[in-house]
Symmetry: C2
Subunit: 356 residues, 2 copies
């Protein structure tokens, strides 16, 4: 169905029907000039926002809309967890070009609802409008935390242990894989077109690339998970991080934020960078340095945090958390100790959309 | 200066330097994964968001960036005032194509800061990213109100008076004026190019259209003001509206929202539609029906609200507020009484970007 058949209000009504709110703090969701919230007394509130643009942040030739919706929500929840807060509400704004039909938007919203349901988050408002070009998705997330639970980037102290959750570089490898298949596919289409073979073209239309053995990389790229399970586990283990950030632009870049804002240095060990087997195998195949991918790949959506040295035993026993180094005085700089014992200064080559 | 010279983090740092926060409820603004707020105890919070896309919501050939920034903030504050709340914080996300330089972004932010300063609002976060095409601006505004002060769209009751602030249709006329001048200018450029006259081209480059006598229309289009002064005045006069909405898509459309959500009808009078002299003169010149412009023009950012009939005297004495009709039972429908006494059903021809 064409979106123009429904119009803006029709589309909003259709989407709103599927949206129910569950949080006690959500008094009124979609349907007025503003949503109305009743923040929990004594709690702090955290707010974050992300704007995703087609062609810059996602490529619809290989990203299913349902996955895109899921990811768009998760990247915002990841920021909320990085404050050690619980996400409660989001608003969603979409700008749609005429190439999208109503069913596309249903898919996108289905993915967003799935991500919200996973963490008990309410969709409380938004804006739906036209775009002359591609799709734009803007999400704002609101979360809550007790004042004493909030973790900033700026409170890391020398001797603190540096920890990361999960593993690094897999999402970046997933992107390389998808980009490679896209190029191969386009070349085949071009070839078939030149040869004029209708049969060949039809075969290509239904062709599905073989990603077997690489499913994990694709999942990390297409369907990332915000690590609220890690902040839960730390709380249960009685661990309060001194600083925390989520890894969206690559470990190096995020570590530089923590050190810069905490006025410290750091020392991390290449051999301790957590890697998945598939990441390593794919890096080998693509002739890439796997450590560089882990340090600068981006889109990991893992948590990078620091804990006091005294919590070494406690943090080491938390599942899926890895100690990769420690915080130093600022004058020691940001050091990466390579496998051969060499010392290098960390550089942020992280994702930076505005750099040429 | 090219934005790429600064990069994303450099640009954020440059913008953040100019931003100071003033609200007691803003504990931490730009600079971490999330902003941290301390909502005032016992208060409700309202949240609204808007996404503005170049080519759909604004045309940079005639909209100065400083005005655009101001307007982008004001349209969100307008939604906060329409809940009878006070705006406190906003987040700002920008997607920028390579045609913009750092000074452009400075201008855009200068306009946003000016709008924020006017209403004591803090910029607490955002996202800055690249765009393959035009400019996208996504703003989320957060406000506060006492629970008993909040006004929804859904509580209008039969016999309530229907009121609007300011006057209607002026912003729409301003847009017509700008669009007309753009066409004339483009035609002149085309003509000069065909004639090959360099002199003519240079004259055109510095040409400024003569808008004298039309300044008010331009101001309403380019620099709208959210009507927090009206909600203040109503509070001072002891008037609590039963329903309220801001007029962004045109009076007809907004009135339909109130009647639909309140399950009522309405009866408004054409002769009571508040019009500015310039609006009427411009409509005459363009051969447009001025009432149609007032009903469906859009972008007025005035407030439409209802008050109990018993407050007729009180509301009539509030400056810049006009009673245009009253609320009826739902079965009476939505009626416009024309100057000649005829009765017409109201139709929403309001701005609907997703309609063909």
């Amino acid at each position: 169905m064409e979106i123009s058949e429904l119009g803006e209000f029709g589309l909003i009504e259709r989407l709103a029907k599927e949206i129910t709110t569950k949080n006690a703090s959500t008094l009124k969701g979609v349907g007025d000039d503003c949503a109305v919230l009743a923040p929990t007394e004594g709690m702090r509130q955290v707010v974050t926002t992300d704007l995703l643009m087609e062609g810059v942040h996602f490529d619809l030739t290989y990203v299913p809309l349902r996955h895109l919706g899921y990811k768009a929500v998760m990247v915002n929840l990841s920021d909320v967890f990085a404050m050690n807060a619980q996400p409660r509400q989001i608003t969603v704004s979409l700008a749609l070009s005429s190439k999208f039909c109503v069913e596309d938007i249903d898919e996108l919203y289905a993915g967003m609802r799935m991500a919200c349901e996973k963490w008990g988050v309410d969709i409380v408002g938004g804006d739906t409008t036209a775009s002359l070009t591609g799709l734009a998705i803007s999400i704002t997330a609101i979360g809550e935390a007790r004042p004493e639970d909030i973790v900033l980037r700026s409170e890391a102290k020398p001797t603190d242990l540096i920890c990361v959750s999960g593993n690094l570089g897999a999402a970046y490898m997933g992107l390389q894989l998808l980009e490679r298949e896209k190029i191969i596919y386009n070349e085949q289409v071009e070839k078939a077109r030149k040869s004029g073979s209708k049969e060949q073209m039809e075969l290509l239309r239904d062709a599905q690339p073989d990603f077997s053995g690489r499913e994990y990389l694709l999942e990390r790229q297409l369907k990332p998970e915000a690590r609220g399970d890690i902040t839960d586990a730390l709380r249960e283990a009685g661990i309060h991080p001194t600083s925390m950030i989520d890894i969206s632009d690559g470990l190096s870049s995020e570590l530089m934020h923590i050190c810069h804002q905490s006025r410290t240095g750091c020392r991390i060990y290449e051999e301790r960078l957590p890697l998945d087997y598939e990441t390593a195998a794919m890096a080998e195949e693509l002739n890439l340095n796997v450590s560089t991918c882990a340090l600068n790949g981006g889109e990991d959506y893992e948590l990078l945090f620091t804990v006091p040295l005294t919590q070494n035993d406690a943090v080491s026993s938390v599942k899926d958390v890895h100690v990769i180094g420690y915080v130093t005085e600022a004058d020691k700089g940001l050091a990466l100790i390579t496998r051969d014992g060499g010392e290098h200064q960390l550089k942020a080559q992280g994702w930076n959309h505005l750099k040429p």
